[in-house]
């Protein structure tokens, strides 16, 4: 162990997030009159930044295990490896951005403390999910992410859209949780174990049809969390109705949390060669889902008139790209680790650019300009810095070169081609071209279109400093991840290769 620390130190990021949430709740409960929006936001942000620092430290120092590998805790139920730390870094970064932005978004809300603690609790669940090595932990952590999320979507309880979105999200979520749990029970029935590695070794002795049904049901659970077809219906409603910082949080962090389940559980519990020999070809299932999801998301996004809804569908499209990470895998494929690592790197870059884009929408909601493309016309004149940042997000989401989204998308497609999935990469490239159309509409509205009336922009009379800071920081990260892409993709590739 590095520095002689106990093995539980490996859970430091998750613990820091959990304690931050508890501290927020504690202060809010004990001294309700002393609570202030600013101090709560500062505590929450510092907590998530501390968690981020802890993940970076653990990754850089090679973890706390004697050989630099994974740390197994609590009777193998928790496994902290580079994969877990990488995803925790995504969750912590997005959480920090969202909490900073929420400070201005909820400036006149009666009870903002609950918001901050709910976000940190959901982030705790995500960090736990990333390290889950047992299906029981996977399910508990998944619920730990979901339950605060339902509340967060409906957080503006006077707002009809927010409440309706929350209810829809809850209903679809409950259904898919049930399906997922039933899938787990079938897997347990077939293999007699919940620990991922034991499931794999038990399957060697005799795979029955029950296991296959269980695996398919678990795919459904993943599809819900990542907002992929066929469980994507909740996403446009929830993202549109929810307060924009919550949409940012759900579409970036919560989506990545769904992917960590897919990446770890399927490769470890149902190894590729077993899946193929037992005709439980989950790679093929994911390949079909990836193709349908990216196409549906992109084409639906192209016909939207509201920016937030467009971003919601674009987020479905991006789930399709990331699914390539579990779809373009073959038994003994030369680029298995590369393709999954590239999907992880894409999720990290996406975490910044997509969060930034939703936070720009949050800023527009705070200003009170409308929701459609036309309402964004000429915003550049009043808010040049934020508009430039939004242009960066849009171009990066479309995968245009001077930004990090180009590299993450390119390496994902390249790895898929190296693994023999030319059709999937080609479909992804075509979808990227389609996406340029609707992303560039935002840029066109912001910079080139004239506002409908000279007074249309007078609503912008506030300067939400914290929101500005979060948006600008996300934009800077989106740009700097291009020159700094090397360490990201190399860490991700190493983490993913360890799974095969």
């Amino acid at each position: 162990m590095v520095n002689g620390l106990p093995a539980v130190t490996a859970l430091l990021p998750a613990l820091l997030l959990a304690f931050t949430g508890l501290a927020l709740l504690l202060v809010d409960t004990i001294r309700p009159d002393a609570r202030s929006n600013t101090s709560m936001a500062v505590v929450g942000t510092l907590g998530s930044l501390a968690a981020l620092a802890a993940t970076v430290w653990l990754t850089a120092s090679g973890g706390v295990s004697p050989d630099g590998g994974a740390v197994l805790l609590f009777a193998d139920a928790i496994k902290v490896d580079t994969l877990a730390l990488f995803f925790t870094a995504i969750f912590a970064s997005v959480t920090a951005l969202v909490l900073v932005a929420a400070h201005d978004y909820f400036h006149d809300h009666a009870n903002p403390a609950a918001f901050y603690s709910l976000v940190t609790f959901a982030a705790t669940g995500m960090a736990l999910l990333a390290a889950a090595n047992s299906l029981a932990v996977v399910f508990v952590a998944l619920e730990m992410v979901s339950l605060p999320s339902y509340v967060l979507v409906a957080y503006l309880k006077q707002n009809r859209g927010s409440v309706e979105a929350g209810l829809k999200y809850f209903l679809v979520g409950a259904l898919s949780s049930a399906i997922f749990l039933f899938g787990i029970s079938l897997v347990y029935a077939a293999t007699g174990s919940l620990i991922l590695a034991d499931i794999a070794s038990a399957s060697v002795e005799g795979v029955t049809g029950v296991l296959g049904v269980g695996v398919v049901m678990m795919i459904g659970g993943v599809a819900f969390k990542t907002a992929s077809v066929p469980f994507h219906f909740w996403a446009p409603e929830a993202y549109e109705g929810a307060p924009a910082p919550v949409s940012a949080f759900l579409s970036s962090a919560s989506k990545a949390a769904g992917f960590v389940v897919a990446f770890r559980v399927f490769t470890e519990a149902f190894p590729l060669e077993l899946a193929v020999s037992a005709n439980v070809d989950w790679m093929l299932a994911f390949a079909v889902l990836a193709a349908v999801t990216m196409t549906l998301g992109n084409f639906a996004a192209a016909v939207q008139e509201e920016v937030k809804r467009m971003l919601a569908y674009s987020s479905i499209g991006h789930a399709g790209y990331a699914l390539i990470g579990v779809a373009a895998l073959t038994v003994d494929g030369p680029a298995n680790g590369t393709v999954m690592g590239a999907a992880m790197a894409h999720l990290l870059v996406y975490g910044f650019m997509n969060t930034g884009a939703f936070l720009f929408v949050a800023m527009a909601e705070r200003w009170g300009v409308g929701r459609t493309f036309a309402d964004y016309a000429g915003l550049w004149r009043r808010a040049p810095v934020a508009s430039v940042a939004m242009a960066v997000f849009m171009f990066s989401l479309a995968g245009l070169p001077p930004f990090a989204g180009f590299f993450s998308k390119y390496f994902l497609f390249q790895a898929a081609i190296d693994n023999g999935f030319l059709w999937l990469a080609g479909l992804g490239a075509i979808n990227s071209v389609v996406s340029l159309y609707y992303y560039s509409r935002v840029v066109k509205a912001l910079f080139l279109d004239e506002p409908e009336s000279p007074s249309a922009l007078d609503a912008i009379d506030v300067r939400p400093t914290a929101l500005y800071a979060a948006v600008v920081f996300a934009a800077v990260a989106t740009v700097l991840l291009l020159p700094g892409f090397g360490p990201v993709i190399e860490t991700a590739e190493a983490a993913a290769s360890a799974l095969f």
Partner: protein, 510 residues
């Protein structure tokens, strides 16, 4: 590290100007843009490399630092210059300060953003000409589009939105096609390359490293890649029939952006054609020599005819660029030392001359607020110096000896008349030469009706001599055109040195 320093100067300068107040953003941007110019003169004076950077020649001022490695292929920060890229590098640093000067009069809103974008574009243009790694090059290549989109879309003429979007969509679709073409080469090379460094890829292809990929034989991959890249670059150049974005973009763009668009951005296309298509896949280029030469000649003649039909001075100059770029393509496809060398020389010469023409038309427009041939007459009366330089520039365009345009076209024709790689070369050359007559026709008639005769203007603006900072860049450009025409060897020697290995490549294979 000096290349990096010059790019960084332009980039940091762009950020500085963004934050500067509008009142002196123009002066600050001009002062900053002199740093890369002086630096590039220093590079030029110390330039000693020989050969072609892609084909194993010596690379001047090279830096190679690994950036990242994915799936067994590494991407690196790899920049350097050879005899082909150095003249274009110098051209860029020379034109940007002049373009910034030409913006002082017409640009009167949001100056700091305007000049910041100009410098940002310069940094990326320098990157395009210096980059020797595909990814690095592609990042710069695409990054050039973004500032140009905003320059046209925000400071442009009445139909700026349409022009900016058309420019963006056309060139982006072209980039994607080119990207796919190049990537299929990389994938077909498989394990025989371990990086995206252009020299490594070019040499691996020359050594026969292309393999079968997804069941497609190497020959077919090379041909598909050649076509995809050719179409991609053809939009950028532009070659008929992919030229329709150009007049819209030019007419709507503010003068300084037009200067850079015609002077440097179009050269990105021809430069890339030379670097990728003609250097990496010479065999495919000679197989397609006749159709490409035909397209080149059609561009020359058709572009000139279109210019003949225009009434807007800026449109005339814009269409004549299509015509001039046709000569460059002809020079490339004939695959002789003088053809390829002359094409590269013509890129520089046309950059200077078209820059001069756009700037001069811009100066007249600033005074008259019209560019229509029928709206004005006798401008020589009121703006003698500007008109004098414009006439001189037009003669340069027509290929008057001792001016840069003559040298470029002369080299191309010398190269193309005796081209072994192109059947019927003399026929193509003769047809292309006919284009010069049309150029002379439309330029002379346009000048006669607008510049000479008694003064007449259909608007009520007072027209007087232009300001010193408007005329000075014109004079500087004219001097440069004459210097390059009198002593072409200051560039042509190094160009020829770098072009020769490309030509030898085709004789070895064929």
């Amino acid at each position: 590290m000096i290349l990096e320093a010059l790019m960084a100067a332009a980039f940091v300068g762009a950020l500085t100007v963004f934050l500067a107040p509008d009142e002196w953003a123009g002066r600050l941007a001009f002062a900053i843009s002199l740093i890369p110019f002086v630096g590039s003169l220093y590079l030029w004076s110390g330039f000693e490399a020989g050969g072609n950077a892609l084909l194993g020649g010596e690379i001047a001022y090279a830096t190679q630092i690994e950036w990242l490695e994915v799936g067994g292929r590494s991407v690196s920060w790899f920049v350097g210059l050879d005899g082909i890229s150095l003249p274009l590098f110098v051209l860029t640093t020379f034109l940007v300060p002049l373009a910034i000067l030409s913006a002082w009069t017409p640009v009167d809103t949001r100056q700091s953003q305007f000049y910041g974008l100009m410098l940002f574009m310069e940094a990326n243009l320098l990157g395009v000409f210096a980059a020797l790694d595909f990814f690095l090059w592609f990042v710069f290549w695409e990054a050039v589009l973004v500032p140009m989109y905003f320059l046209i879309g925000i400071w442009g003429g009445p139909r700026r939105k349409y022009a900016a979007i058309k420019f963006f969509v056309y060139t982006n679709a072209a980039s994607l096609l080119m990207f796919i073409g190049f990537m299929s080469l990389v994938f077909a090379l498989g394990g025989s390359v371990s990086s995206f460094a252009l020299p490594e890829i070019a040499q691996a292809i020359a050594a026969g490293g292309l393999g079968t990929w997804f069941g497609i034989p190497p020959d077919r991959i090379a041909m598909v890649a050649f076509l995809a890249m050719f179409l991609g670059f053809a939009v950028k150049v532009p070659i008929v029939p992919f030229h329709t974005w150009l007049p819209d973009a030019h007419v709507q763009a503010p003068t300084p952006a037009s200067v850079l668009l015609a002077g440097v951005l179009l050269k990105m296309g021809t430069y890339a054609l030379l670097r990728f298509n003609f250097t990496m896949l010479p065999e495919q280029a000679s197989m397609l020599a006749i159709p490409i030469a035909a397209i080149a000649v059609i561009s020359v003649i058709y572009g000139a005819m279109l210019a003949l039909a225009q009434k807007d001075l800026k449109r005339i100059v814009a269409y004549s660029s299509v015509s001039s770029m046709g000569y460059v393509i002809l020079g490339l496809v004939v695959f002789t030392e003088y053809g390829i060398g002359g094409a590269t020389f013509q890129m520089v010469a046309h950059g200077l001359i078209s820059g001069l023409m756009f700037m001069a038309v811009g100066v007249i427009y600033n005074a008259t607020h019209t560019r229509m041939v029928g709206d004005m007459a006798g401008m020589a009366d009121r703006m003698p110096v500007t008109v004098g330089i414009l006439v001189a520039g037009a003669f340069g365009y027509m290929g008057l000896p001792l001016m840069a345009g003559f040298a470029g076209e002369f080299f191309i024709f010398v190269g193309s008349l005796s081209a072994p790689a192109l059947p019927y070369a003399p026929v193509f050359t003769a047809l292309a030469m006919f284009g010069i007559v049309i150029v002379a026709g439309y330029l002379l008639s346009a000048m006669q009706s607008t510049l000479f005769g008694p003064f007449e203007l259909e608007t009520d603006y007072d027209v007087g001599p232009a300001a010193f900072h408007d005329v000075a860049p014109l004079a500087v450009l004219l001097v440069a055109i004459i210097v390059l025409g009198v002593a072409p060897d200051i560039f042509f020697e190094m160009i020829r040195d770098a072009a020769l290995p490309v030509v030898e490549g085709v004789t070895v294979d064929g």
